[in-house]
Symmetry: C2
């Protein structure tokens, strides 16, 4: 059982227009609505591959009901914490040339009681779980060290914790000593203050974060692959994607694969790469099913070339 | 009783951002959601002034439920025609300097059965009404002469019909000989092919439309006022607005005032101007209550100066 916590989920509306002209009245060519949130995506990927999962999320308003309705056909068991405010509606404006403009709402302001209810629901849902994934941004009203507080509240529970967030909430979570974090290149740079331009930089940043109490660092590098830094050292792997379609949710799928693959070591890294590549080959934020996973496309390197430059910003 | 028909209603989301940078990830500063659609606004204004009204609209999907929930506290009696597709969600991106970028969805494609159900519900709702207001754009699937078909289906019913639409649906509706149309300056130009730059142009266009079978033309000209062209000739009036806040929905409020004021003649025109000015002095698409109407701010001119230039595009 892998439990995910998404404190600030969303309903994601994608609007296709010819060109986004500021100040104009534009006719949308097509729109679609998807459930949004990192933990929601992780649970979607796990459910699509027959893994037991539970997604904990606060939900309120019409967007909250819409989110539940969007998740229902995906067979994702959801633990909804009712809140007064509405789930945020994020808008992506997509143009044929690939330009994407995002309008992200901050999310509803949660009260102290709602934060407490979300924490309690998470601790309860995680009681019989192997992993708890704490994911994404925090809604207004949440303390910046919310993820650290959740870890503290888990107490002596056997569940392992992975944090996949960014900025101050990620840095504040480091103090709680999570078993795993999954930063991308930008988040790695942000958390360490280092410039990350080579695989060697990734390894050094991962090692620094380990000295700050993190068990392992799974650094997702987009098309450049991924690096796992743990107690045994650093491992690099990559996967080829013949026809990349959409990187949206690929990092979430990668984390799901890592946890499904055992949550540690090169075998889990290989599974993470297969799941990430599977999501990258699918449109929108679609998560891969077993048929979408091509494990032959994954390479785990014998050694890491520290001077190898990173091409993609992840 | 004044019945409104809104074949393509919407849930209107307004997102405030600092600047709409194409290709950027923007943090929304605030968002609000309002019920949308011309007829919905007309019924809102009437209900806010204690007038009997009924709003007929097709609704489906989560946005349809959201629209009903947004209308419930406004005390607008709604006749919902259930449809399979979702009510469209229109997005307005608003910047502090007043720049507004609109992303309008086309709306759900209605089936022949759904169009027929909407027509039947309208005829039934209008059976005891004085006025039926056919408003706004048509959803995909509707015949371009939908409003003419509705008028035909009303048969010998005593209800008078006003059409407030634009483009081809407005032109096609003229053939049915509606009692009233309420074009703005742009719609007047579009329907007649004339250039409209003076009050004289407005009167000439209105008279042309009357020769094509329309009973009366209420031309809304924004801050320039309004012109009523009917069997007795043309009347011009205007209203001063001390602090204009938002023109959104002001034309709909004007139409509501005209109908509430009797639906013909200078007294109805004066009421229309008071209601339009009331809406223009309120934020967003808020409709005026009796306290928001300043009838002393309205002037009905003794004669029309045909050379008077129009300042505002409406």
């Amino acid at each position: 059982m892998i439990v995910t916590l998404t404190p600030n989920p969303s309903v994601d509306r994608t609007i296709e227009v010819d060109v986004l002209h500021r100040g104009a009245v534009l006719r949308a060519r097509a729109t679609r609505v998807d459930p949004g949130g990192k933990g929601v995506n992780v649970s979607r990927a796990l459910a699509a591959n027959g893994r037991q999962t539970r997604a904990v999320l606060p939900a309120g308003g019409w967007e909250g009901e819409q989110l539940a309705a969007l998740l229902a056909p995906l067979d994702v068991p959801v633990v909804v914490v009712p809140v007064a405010g509405s789930v945020r509606a994020n808008v992506s404006v997509v143009e044929p040339d690939g330009t994407v403009t995002k309008l992200n709402e901050p999310g509803p302001r949660l009260s102290g009681e709602e934060i407490e209810a979300m924490t309690a629901a998470t601790v309860k849902a995680a009681a019989d779980a192997e992993w708890l994934a704490c994911t994404g941004s925090l809604p207004p009203g949440a303390p910046i060290d919310f993820y650290a507080q959740v870890v503290e509240r888990l107490g002596s529970a056997q569940v392992k914790v992975v944090v996949d967030s960014s900025g101050a909430p990620l840095v504040a979570a480091l103090d709680a000593g999570p078993d795993l974090i999954k930063p991308n290149r930008e988040e790695l740079a942000e958390a360490t203050g280092r410039s990350i331009t080579t695989l060697g930089d990734v390894v050094a940043a991962g090692e620094e974060l380990r000295t700050r109490g993190v068990g392992a660092v799974l650094a997702s590098l987009g098309a450049d692959g991924a690096v796992l830094v743990d107690a045994t050292g650093a491992t690099f792997g990559s996967a080829t994607v013949d026809k990349p379609r959409s990187a949206v949710g690929a990092g979430d799928s990668m984390l799901a694969g890592f946890l499904a693959g055992g949550g540690s070591g090169p075998a889990a890294l290989a599974e993470a790469l297969a799941w990430g590549a599977g999501a990258a080959s699918l449109p929108g934020s679609r998560m891969p099913t077993p048929d979408d996973l091509d494990r032959d496309a994954v390479t785990i390197a014998d050694r890491i070339d520290p001077d190898r430059p990173l091409k993609e910003r992840s």
